[in-house]
């Protein structure tokens, strides 16, 4: 029997918490079964909205889950030891985000039983094929990175052979960190490329550098900017709920600083990209950018919100050493960063479909169905459950472990 | 002690390996395919013998639109078998159960492709001059009709996958999967799009 770590919440507290999320998860599972057994008519997607809330969710969690590969890269390759405290949580979060995204993707496609065709008959030109390959391989990497964590569970580590295995794994973790970084780099980019390559969608289409559209690079940059912020948020949230100091201040500070500078770089490049898009890319395709923001539901306000309010503002806050000392700022600013990235993914996914390309087609709005929201909730609860279990049974936070031992 | 332990482990490993391979090579194929008898016995040899003197395309011919008519309708059988020729069980069954009530014989087709495949026989036999035997084997020289082996799961005939369960066929009759079509097309320098063979 696997025992929880010594200083975790008692079962009478843990059970209702996990029970609540299990209930939501069950609801999500029911919605999943509906979609898989009867078809996607249970969603509110239609021929104009081939990508709905799920794709938005996938893109967002994958961007936020970028904390995993980026922290591993910083820690193991660039030897930024400040991240030692968060690497465990980062790996778990990454695993949750990626595995959740893969599962939702499987529900989202009409014929999941044939999804393996992508590996067997791939179209090398397709960004989605690239995404699928990298995503699957990186999920494998994450799983391998997750295993040592599991094996560190006290009851499991009693088993000598497993402990040896764990030690072996640990030696090659640098290799995995490197491989993971490359894979992630590509699939984050490909997710951006997904939109940027659509030469038939002037709203999404972007100028290319070599074979990659600008969104390829913007997505990478925004993901590695948002990942650390998301790590801050989740760790703070976990601290709040468990009422324990899980991560040292230096780690938060480092994450905040790196998030801020990367975000600043992103906002700068995004602004350049937007200006080029408005003045060159879109008009060259026959569309004036003003048409894109004609409707109130996707007005210019959304552009302002994405770049300034949820981009420039938190970036400037996070690069300020004094402001980062403020605990409230260290919650609000990362939150703004995460929302900003979510808005970016939302706009790319939904606004580009709302806008008709045919001049005589109408502007269409999309609201997700209850089933779609149910699956969304299921994915969220899956994350909470896995993270809670990992926190309860695995030494995610080495800092905390030390304290408990002393 | 350690040596013994390793040896038992290797033993278990080999047991697992062998059992799984036996299952994968023998048990699964046996379980996956069901064997269905043809409704009636039929000898191609008798029909193409000098006595009967029939040619292949007396029964298996092309239609006016160029399509392959496939297995003949009962009307073709009636031409000779209006009354029973001989006293074999199958002969009587043919006359009593099918010819007299005018019912079609529900023959099972070994080479039936799924609905989504378009295979123009005429292009292959007339333009590419590929002999029937290349795909169908020596079916025309058989004395009896073997049972149809049908995949319980997909409903496909075993002939599509080929007799070799590994899926590798090197000599005729070739299996008739898409990859087999593609291989042959490549060999002959025919490069086509998906729609050339899919409908």
């Amino acid at each position: 029997m696997i025992e929880p770590l010594d200083n975790r919440a008692p079962t009478r507290v843990f059970l209702p918490w996990i029970g609540f999320w299990m209930a939501i998860f069950a609801l999500g599972a029911y919605c999943t079964v509906l979609c898989l057994s009867q078809g996607l008519f249970h969603t509110n997607m239609n021929n104009r909205f081939g990508f709905g809330i799920w794709i938005f969710l996938d893109l967002t969690v994958i961007a936020l889950g970028a904390g995993a590969f980026f922290s591993a890269f910083l820690l193991y390759i660039l030897k930024k030891q400040a991240l030692k405290d968060v690497i465990g949580a980062a790996v778990v979060l990454g695993f949750i985000c990626y595995s959740g995204a893969v599962v939702v993707l499987a529900i989202d496609v009409g014929q999941p039983l044939r999804a393996w065709f992508t590996f067997w008959h791939p179209n090398a030109h397709s960004m989605l094929a690239e995404v699928t390959f990298c995503l699957t391989l990186y999920l494998l990497v994450l799983a391998i990175e997750y295993v040592p964590l599991i094996l560190k569970n006290p009851s499991l580590s009693k088993n000598v052979s497993l402990l040896v295995f764990e030690g072996q794994l640990h030696k090659v973790v640098v290799v995995f960190a490197g491989v993971g970084a490359i894979l992630s780099f590509f699939h984050q980019g490909s997710l951006g490329g997904l939109y940027g390559v659509m030469n038939g969608r002037p709203f999404a289409f972007r100028e290319h550098f070599f074979i990659w559209p600008s969104t390829f690079f913007l997505f990478i940059l925004s993901a590695i900017a948002a990942g650390p912020s998301f790590l801050i948020l989740i760790n703070k949230l976990a601290s709040k709920i468990s009422k324990k100091q899980l991560v040292r201040k230096e780690a938060y500070d480092f994450l905040g600083r790196i998030s801020g500078w990367l975000l600043l770089a992103y906002v700068g490049l995004k602004s350049v990209d937007t200006i080029v898009w408005i003045n060159h890319t879109a008009p060259a395709s026959g569309y004036s950018a003003s048409e894109f923001f004609k409707e109130a539901s996707f007005g210019t306000w959304i552009l302002f919100a994405e770049i300034i309010l949820f981009g420039l503002l938190p970036a400037l806050v996070l690069i300020n050493n004094r402001l980062r000392k403020n605990p409230l700022v260290m919650i609000v600013a990362p939150l703004l960063v995460c929302i900003g990235i979510a808005i970016n993914r939302y706009v790319m996914t939904l606004q580009s479909q709302s806008l008709p390309t045919l001049p005589f087609e109408e502007f269409v709005l999309y609201t997700p169905s209850l089933v779609e929201i149910g699956v969304f909730g299921g994915m969220l609860s899956y994350g909470v459950i896995v993270f809670s279990l990992s926190y309860r049974y695995l030494p995610l936070f080495p800092g905390l472990q030390q304290k408990a031992k002393t | 002690m350690i040596l013994t332990q390793r040896r038992t482990t290797i033993l278990f490993f080999i047991i697992g390996l062998v059992v799984a391979m036996l299952a994968g090579w023998i048990a699964v194929p046996a379980a996956l395919y069901e064997s269905i008898e043809q409704p009636l016995g039929f000898s191609h040899v008798v029909h193409t013998s000098d006595d009967a003197g029939m040619e292949c395309d007396d029964c298996h011919h092309l239609t006016s639109e160029g399509g392959f008519a496939g297995i003949p309708k009962i009307a073709v059988c009636v031409d000779c078998h209006e009354e029973a020729i001989g006293t074999s069980v199958d002969e009587l069954k043919l006359v009593e159960e099918y010819i007299k009530p005018g019912r079609e014989i529900p023959w099972l087709v070994y080479a039936r492709q799924p609905d989504n495949a378009f295979f123009p026989h005429v292009r292959h036999t007339r333009l590419a001059k590929i002999p029937c035997e290349q795909c169908h084997g020596d079916h025309g020289q058989t004395e009896t009709l073997r049972p149809l082996k049908r995949n319980r799961f997909t409903g496909y005939s075993r002939d599509i996958w080929g007799n070799d369960f590994s899926g590798i066929t090197t000599s005729p009759p070739f299996s008739m999967k898409m990859s087999d079509c593609v291989d042959c097309h490549r060999k002959r320098g025919v490069r086509d799009s998906c729609l050339a063979c899919h409908k």
Binding site: Q111 | Q5, L17, A23, S166
Partner: protein, 717 residues
């Protein structure tokens, strides 16, 4: 330590198993088979297999009778195509015709006779019991009433089947009622001729001008695709089409001139045009002088039309005087065809509007000249036939037993109109129909009949055919056992008389045509016609017809007999001047609107539609069905409605709920609602499914229900 060893061994077993499995084809084959299963799972329909057979026939869905090439597999038609070069349809098939084969498997098909019990519930009975019941009612009707107590409503009159009906009815002193069709108005012209008149047709193809009062000229009126070919014709001699309609119909859009007329003012416009023809002396003076019986004198036509000055007419119709003059002069410049149209859903024009319209043809000397109204030579008929009348002319409450032939007529009729003709206490309706929708309108007994692709019949002679013709609807699929031909039903109940079978009747007509020796026969497989004289025996002709051939007659000269420009009917004559008493278009009261039902040419009122027609109604809104009301933004604004609002349209008989669709091209003060089955419930005949605007009008005039006073109210949810 023992625990540890076991675990290792187990891991070894699992590892070996995994490697062994991976080295066998089973898992890969499994993966493959799972994918293949998704491509062929059992609930995906299997394609029909077998050799394709090609046959030719004619379409029996509407009077156009288009030539069809039918490709079948195993006795089921798998595709339908037009026949290029066909004399009347020239390769055209409409959407309904293409999909018509789906009628046989229509979800609303009736599979057993049903009767309304004493409790009002409909229940199934055996065919034997149904026939016995019909026999009882027949005896009762005959003993209780006199002439016309037994009647047959024939939605497809003019076939040999209709002659059999009339022959049977003659033995019962019954009447044959012609269902509403697009060629109904031409009978009005026949009543205006003094003396016996032959069958008449319109020579649209050679006309210089077509003056259409709301007829679907470009939407498939007459012989299949004729209207379409008018549009497609690039020669300068193609007719100039003037469409007089309230609605931006496809014909109105495509016409050379669209006169958007105020609702119900067609009589005024027609007499206004006559006013200009007469006052400017543009009419055919020679013919009028010789043949017109009522031009001059007190109460004469000249006096009548003098009152319809362009100014007056413009005030009432909403069409400016200059345009009216322009149209009149164009009309008089050559042979012209006037079509006082029957809208498939909106019904016919009033009798006086038809009379006024046809008076223009007579004034222009178009009756009997190419490009105008032409006569068809008749094939001799045999035997005693009962009268054939229009429903409007049947006295109220006179019918005790009405048998409805469920053939598709192409036009819808208000239920209330039919009901009024029945004897209030003893009137029974027996419907011989394949479908629930068309049968359920008040039928006491329903006996399922065949669909048009299952039975042999005569294809119609379209309104615009200048000559007579005969083509057969050769069955392209087997009729199910529960269905029965209408003549077989009659023969089962007939006691004293012998009802011939439909094949005998058709063969008889074929033989008479052969005996006549005129005309030519089109061979659809070759795409060419040969003279009838090349057919040695009557059997040769019959075989050609059964092979989908079409016999067409030769045309014959026809001299217009004397005629009355105002018709022979005194009541109609008296109503003509009253047309001027209508209020001007400017006087319309706010909140008062008129409902004008209309029908799509290939999706008419009563019958069901094949589900594939959902492409036009449900999956796109290329066409709107009865769930939508089209209204101009100005009127909608006055009434407080915006695009997409729900509204209740209320008349004295009831209300329907619709969604408002704004269209600036619609005339002010009118709301247009399509008539037809609800396309959200293809095939479903349960109450509330397919609300019919045609159930709303209170028919003041039996013959016209196209303008219905109504109110448009907000729907309180």
């Amino acid at each position: 330590m023992g625990f540890s060893v076991k675990r290792r061994d187990f891991l070894g077993l699992v590892g070996g198993g995994a490697i062994g499995a991976a080295l066998s084809p089973a898992p890969w084959k499994g993966l493959d088979d799972i994918a293949i299963w998704t491509q062929n799972w059992s609930w995906k329909p299997r394609l029909p297999r077998g050799p394709v057979e090609v046959a030719f026939t004619h379409c029996g869905l509407c009077p156009a009778g288009c030539g069809l090439k039918v490709r079948s597999v195993g006795g089921n038609p798998v595709s339908i195509h037009g026949v290029p070069g066909h004399p009347s349809s020239t390769g055209f098939v409409c959407a309904l015709g293409l999909a018509g084969r789906y009628f046989s498997y229509h979800p609303s098909r009736i599979v057993e006779p049903t009767i309304v019990g004493t409790s009002g519930q409909r229940r199934g009975i055996s065919r034997k019991a149904a026939v016995r019941q019909l026999g009882d009612w027949l005896d009762k009707a005959r003993s209780g009433g006199g002439h016309g107590s037994v009647a047959i409503l024939d939605n497809h009159p003019g076939r040999v089947r209709s002659l059999a009906y009339r022959g049977w009815l003659a033995t019962l002193d019954g009447v044959h009622i012609k269902g509403l069709r697009e060629d109904t108005p031409i009978n009005r012209l026949r009543t205006m001729l003094d003396g016996p008149a032959p069958e008449l047709g319109l020579d649209i193809a050679r006309a210089r001008t077509v003056l259409s009062f709301g007829a679907p000229v470009l939407e498939g009126l007459g012989s299949g695709g004729a209207g379409a070919h008018l549009r497609g014709r690039s020669d300068t001699e193609k007719p100039y089409i003037v469409q007089i309609e309230t609605r931006p119909s496809r014909t109105a859009r495509g016409a050379d001139l669209w006169l958007r007329i105020a609702p119900g003012t067609e009589t005024v416009l027609a007499l206004g045009l006559a006013n200009i023809l007469v006052s400017e002396g543009l009419y055919d003076k020679e013919i009028i002088a010789q043949q017109a019986l009522d031009l001059d004198g007190p109460g004469g036509y000249r006096e009548l039309v003098a009152r319809f000055s362009p100014k007056q007419v413009s005030r009432i119709t909403g069409i400016d005087a200059a345009t009216i003059k322009k149209v009149a002069r164009r009309f008089a410049s050559g042979p012209a065809v006037v079509i006082p149209g029957v809208d498939p859903g909106g019904g016919p024009l009033s009798a006086e509007a038809q009379t006024a319209a046809f008076s223009l043809s007579l004034l222009n000397g178009d009756v009997g000249r190419p490009g105008g109204v032409v006569a068809r030579r008749a094939i001799p008929q045999e035997g005693q036939l009962a009268d054939t009348v229009e429903l409007a002319d049947v006295p109220d409450g006179s019918i005790r037993l009405l048998i409805v032939d469920g053939a598709a007529g192409g036009c819808a009729m208000p239920t209330s109109l039919l009901k009024r003709k029945l004897n209030p206490s003893e009137g029974r309706v027996v419907s011989l129909s394949p479908f629930e929708r068309s049968a359920l309108h008040g039928a006491d007994l329903v006996i399922p009949s065949t669909t048009p692709f299952e039975n042999i019949d005569e294809a119609g002679v379209p309104i615009d055919a200048p000559v007579d013709s005969m083509g057969l609807t050769v069955p392209s699929m087997r009729a199910p056992d529960y269905s029965v031909d209408s003549l077989s039903v009659l023969s089962m109940v007939a006691k004293s008389s012998v009802v011939p079978t439909i094949t005998e009747l058709l063969r008889g007509r074929s033989d008479r045509i052969h005996a006549g020796g005129r005309g030519s026969v089109f061979d659809p497989s070759k795409g060419e016609s040969v003279p009838l004289t090349e057919f040695q025996t009557n059997g040769d002709l019959w075989r050609a017809l059964m092979g989908g051939g079409l016999w067409t007659d030769t045309s014959a000269a026809f001299t217009c007999p004397p005629f009355r420009l105002m018709g022979a009917n005194a009541a109609i004559r008296d109503r003509l001047p009253q047309a001027l008493e209508q209020p001007s278009t400017a006087d319309r009261q706010a909140r008062e609107i008129v409902l004008m039902p209309f029908g799509w040419r290939d999706a008419p009122g009563d019958g069901p539609l094949p589900p594939v027609m959902a492409k036009l109604f449900r999956e796109t809104r290329l066409r709107l069905d009865s769930r939508f009301a089209t209204i101009c933004p100005k009127t909608a604004g006055e009434l407080g409605f915006a695009q997409g609002d729900k509204a209740s349209i209320k008349t004295s008989l009831g209300s329907i709920t619709v969604e408002v669709v704004l269209d600036p091209a619609v005339v002010d003060g009118v709301v247009h609602v399509a008539v037809g089955p609800s396309t959200e419930a293809f095939g479903d005949a349960s109450p509330g499914k397919g609300d019919q605007p045609l159930d709303l009008p209170s028919c003041k005039n039996d013959d016209c229900w196209r303008v219905i006073p109504a109110k448009m109210l907000e729907v309180v949810s």
